[in-house]
Amino acid sequence: ESNHASLIPEEGKKKAPALQSRTAGQSHELLRDFEATLLHMFGLRRRPRPSRSATVPRYLLDLYRLQSGEAEEAGTHDTGFEYPERSASRANTVRGFHHEEHMEPVHPGEPQTKNGEAIPLRFLFNLSNIPEDELLSSAELRLFRQQIDEAITESEGDKDQLHRINVYEVLKPPRAGQLITRLLDTRLVRHNTSRWESFDVSPAVLRWTRERLPNYGLAVEVQHLNQTPHHQGRHLRISRSLHQEPGEDWEQLRPLLVTFGHDGKGNPLTRRAKR
């Protein structure tokens, strides 16, 4: 009967009836044992003390609710939410990372362009805390698209609503204004909707984690096909300073890197109906 099988460690069981009678000392000791077992199970050395600024991305909360069957049970399943079946079916651990914002070049109010062309923005994600025994199988970069105001778009032709989003792996340490990149994923989108876009960045992330190759980050380039200046860079929420709407929660809209891995303990995150 492995420790996992029942989280109340052996010596705890005899105290459990006492816990019902709530003797403070024993219940405290029992809970400390239980916490130690839980931390061990999660591979944590000590009890986490999250800072106030820690944010739980809505995407991971939705993943949890769908996977545990809670959303189904509560009847609150958001049909627009695409459960990443393929990635989740090979992973028992999902991690969310925000980019190291202090590494961003300081932004003036407007998007970076050169001769009218958008230049890619670089995002560095610190993946050094992923445990060695966790084998990543896939990773996605999630970017939020903000609908551009209706009034403007109605007066425009069809083509004018199109933006091309390119996601690159940065291959060399960036030199002044120049990035050596390799294209990972690209997509043509219309700016008349607000939604999350998911880009497959597995090749790069697996090179950084499995092959221990240097991680120079990802770069995102957004081109408005008609080069209309006032649309350039407005549609994708990729920087805190660019066009933040009042009351907008940047922490929930900022780019999110999600990794799917397996540490060999237990089965993958296939969706379960609540028992």
């Binding site: 099988a5 109340i8 239980f34 916490e35 199970m41 050395r45 545990s68 809670e70 651990t93 089965n267």
Partner: protein, 113 residues
């Protein structure tokens, strides 16, 4: 008597529930979901597997069986016989959000083995 039988039944091996509400124990700052954990565990006696009513039928056979039990052999243990998975969403020591799924975490059934 029903009262006596009731008490005897409670001593047998079965699954006991012990719900840990994470906000009660102050863990809800790092465990985002679920709000608590149904920590079932197995506890109780594993009596020799002969039901009492058998004693009244083939009396001689049952007596032979019961008296031939070798008391040096350790009793059966009350252990989990069916387990199910659970997943948890938590913040690790680097403020990173982790969704982890573990098989064999919730005791669904107990038995004497």
């Amino acid at each position: 008597s029903p009262k006596q039988r009731g008490r005897k039944r409670n001593r047998n091996c079965r699954r006991h529930a012990l719900y840990v509400d994470f906000s009660d124990v102050g863990w809800n700052d790092w465990i985002v979901a679920p709000p608590g954990y149904q920590v079932y565990y197995c506890h109780g006696e594993c009596l020799f597997p002969l039901a009492d009513h058998l004693n009244s039928t083939n009396h001689a056979i049952v007596q032979t069986l019961v008296n031939s039990v070798n008391t040096n052999i350790p009793k059966a243990c009350c252990v989990p016989t069916e387990l199910s998975a659970t997943s948890m969403l938590y913040l690790d020591e680097h403020d990173k959000v982790v969704l982890k799924n573990y098989q064999e975490m919730v005791v669904e059934g107990c038995g004497c083995r």
